[in-house]
Subunit: 177 residues, 2 copies
Amino acid sequence: MINNNKGTVIWLTGLPCSGKTTLSKEIEKYFQDKNLPIQRLDGDVVRTTISNDLGFSKRDRDENIRRVSYIAKMLADNGISVVVAFVSPYEKMRSFAREICPNFVGVYVKCSLEECKRRDVKGMYAKAERGEIGDFTGINDPYEKPSRAEVVIDTEKGNIKNSLKKLKKLLGQSIKD
Amino acid sequence: MINNNKGTVIWLTGLPCSGKTTLSKEIEKYFQDKNLPIQRLDGDVVRTTISNDLGFSKRDRDENIRRVSYIAKMLADNGISVVVAFVSPYEKMRSFAREICPNFVGVYVKCSLEECKRRDVKGMYAKAERGEIGDFTGINDPYEKPSRAEVVIDTEKGNIKNSLKKLKKLLGQSIKD
């Protein structure tokens, strides 16, 4: 059930380099263009502030998502919509976020491992494959595909424009206009 | 300098049982009565959610205040005012909060240790004195009095009504009306 006094929490999950950050910026812009309050929560930012004590073990990843879920909920409870862009590889913690956040919209940012490796924006896949970093999702840490998602955006094969349109339509029904 | 696009962060510091929670609820009500967005961040709530992995060692207390500071900043950056009620015994972390949060208003909730012990709402002082709990501020952990505070509210000797009036006047100048 949609609560219009609250913000929407749009949760993007997907492999590293699947395109989450890019999409989250598009979604942020969509809200800004409508002059609606929006906070973007990105792994790179959160990990240098609220979660700078955490690494990438399963335990630390879960703890990170737990904190982000509570923060997203608090913002949304105050009428601020939130777009979250985290690998968030584990189903259990995504379900936790879905459970506590109001107006939750799960988005699976779909892209094959091969294509993500090819993109490898920061050279992290290469490092993980050389064994220089551990706990890297897709290489030496699992990614559990979402069993549930309101929208799937395939950044490799799909028509991103159409997927975004679908997402925006969905958001248009849930956000305060 | 006051930024009126942002919320105000009212940070209450003081010994356990000095009256922070009670005051924070009055401040919350002040905002609600004016139909202004406000989020109360209370030790008891934060420690069961965002900081439920933390104890009361100096390191954990600092980490707790660090997280709360970032969350308060994020809310205030989005136009939500925040009233924080934490013992926050260490000057260094209070300064950190002051540094990163917009429109910061420091409030020292003053009350003698003797009076706080007398109140001892949850019987914690008694436990700490019997050695049953460690790291308890005022008994076996220090409280560093604020070297700087916009408002001092003496809940023991002072006229609370007048102090609140002073605080509200200060807030009236900084909040979006």
